[in-house]
């Protein structure tokens, strides 16, 4: 009796397993081959043009209705602030979705770099979010639904740019906060984000991502010696929608050189592909074990007869 049961159980397990493996593989391949929405927008940040006026920070504060700043936005003493024993410059937080930092390489004029969400084509924050709070919009923005955020902060760990911040000041209903490319108020209506509009130097160029790539490479070509030969964000981490032109290696203006060109999801999608399979197979597997064990225990009782009958019916089909 138990022999028939085992055969049936194994067949069922294999069928379920095969179905989920195929399903899982398909999904994983789809995630890896996404090359971005064709007409999505982006911003090219030209570090040689930024003069550190912080108007972008002020514009962001107003547009996103963020809390009042501690210091006026024309106070340049913020560039001297450091944190964690001088190892970290200012970063984005719940009251500032963008900050400008100053870097002073030896023998060079200060270089200012604006920090905000880079709106990855394949966002790590989105991959890491188990409540699907994040969305990559067709316009190019990475937005999130704060109402479903459970405050796990996986996205803060996943982001290679340290961008998502947490509303620590709120005891209840604390959620993740970050730049959304002014998606709700501007981008979805075809308008540039507030920071781009206010920039007096056009250090921020708004346009279709594919056009910005052309412009970036053209600037490098037209002004020999002005830039390093790299449009940061073209390929890095699978491509970002905010990209940078820099006069010096990007490590010297605070970019982490470690993440390569692979999107973060590539490092985890094989593992994540197994998750649905495990979820589907394990209940069947352990139910099978359970039934086997139970059948061996209960030889000759009433349950056993009923199951035998079922098996025969199954065999006739």
């Amino acid at each position: 009796m138990s022999g028939i049961s085992r055969r049936k159980f194994l067949a069922a397990s294999v069928a379920v397993g095969a179905a989920t493996t195929l399903g899982g593989t398909k999904k994983a391949l789809a995630a890896g081959s996404f090359s971005g929405y064709p007409n999505s927008m982006g911003v090219l940040v030209d570090l040689t043009r930024c003069i550190g006026c912080r108007s972008c920070e002020a514009a962001c504060n107003k547009e996103q209705k963020l809390p009042d700043p501690n210091l006026p936005f024309d106070d340049m003493s913020v560039f001297d602030q450091t944190f964690h024993h001088g190892t970290q410059k200012r970063r984005t937080d719940e009251s500032a979705y963008t900050v400008v930092n100053r870097y002073t390489p030896e023998g060079s004029e200060p270089i200012y770099r604006k920090v905000q969400c880079n709106h990855c084509a394949e966002p790590a924050c989105l991959s890491s979010c188990f409540v699907n709070a994040y969305t990559k919009t067709k316009e190019g923005a990475v937005i999130y639904d704060g109402s479903v955020c459970v405050g796990c902060r996986n996205c803060m760990i996943a982001c290679p740019f340290n961008v998502p911040a947490y509303s620590y000041s709120s005891a209840f209903g604390a959620v993740v906060k970050k730049c959304i490319f002014c998606h709700e108020t501007r981008l979805k209506d075809g308008l540039p984000p507030a920071c781009v509009e206010i920039c007096p130097q056009e250090a921020l160029t708004f346009g279709k991502r594919k056009d910005l790539l052309k412009i970036g490479h053209q600037r490098i070509q037209t002004h020999p010696g002005r830039y390093i030969d790299r449009v940061y964000g073209e390929k890095e981490l699978g491509g970002t929608h905010w990209m940078y032109l820099s006069p010096i290696p990007v490590e010297e203006v605070g970019f982490d050189p470690r993440p390569g060109n692979e999107p973060i999801i590539s490092h985890v999608k094989e593992f994540l592909g197994v998750v649905p399979m495990v979820l589907a197979i394990w209940p069947a597997l352990f139910t099978g074990f359970h039934l086997l064990a139970k059948n061996q225990e209960g030889h000759g009782d009433h349950e056993h007869d009923t199951e035998h009958q079922h098996d025969e019916e199954g065999g006739q089909q």
Binding site: N70, A96, P200, Q201, D211, Q218, T222
Partner: protein, 170 residues
């Protein structure tokens, strides 16, 4: 027949007057009011007379559009001997809305490939002004040229007085 001739002559004279008046240096403005950002800043009254006396050559600011020849390496290959254009004001080429969807779609159909990535009006002013002012010790601070309106003070949170390291997690 003769009436037609008179009409043609009149038209030609009229055309000459129009063309002549647009190309005359006397048309040069004494002062230009730069008022595209009047919400946050007072308009800047740019003293065109004073600046044109300082500059040796109109092309320093106006590229090839004034018919005086250009010195810019990037323009000279096409515009070394360009004639004066009908309009030479900055805003005729450097638009005030460089990132509007209308302008972006116009730009994507730009047939003059060398003119792509042309800065908008605000950037064109700032690059030209600040670049020259740095060389010639002119004013370079934001408020040296731009007096802020009350809305501007509010925008920059002029009265914020909290301590530097309060609030926010780093």
């Amino acid at each position: 027949m003769s009436a037609k001739q008179i009409l043609t002559t009149l038209m030609m004279v009229l055309a000459l007057i129009v063309v002549g008046s647009t190309t005359m240096a006397a048309d040069m403005p004494e002062q230009v009011s730069l008022d595209t950002m009047v919400e946050l800043f007072e308009a800047v009254e740019f003293d065109h007379d004073m600046h044109s006396e300082l500059g040796e050559d109109c092309s320093v600011c106006h590229h090839h559009t004034t018919g005086t020849g250009t010195t810019d390496d990037r323009c000279i290959s096409c515009h070394a001997n360009s004639d004066e254009l009908e309009t030479v004001a900055c805003i005729n080429c450097h638009v005030s809305d460089p990132f509007s969807s209308e302008h972006l779609s116009r730009e994507s159909q730009e047939i003059y490939q060398f003119h792509i990535d042309r800065p908008g009006l605000k950037a064109a002013y700032h690059w030209n002004c600040i670049g020259c002012h740095e060389e010639m010790d002119g004013p370079t601070g934001c408020e040296d040229c731009h007096a802020r309106t009350p809305e501007g003070d509010e925008f920059y949170h002029k009265d914020a007085t909290g301590s530097a390291d309060e609030g926010g997690h780093h």
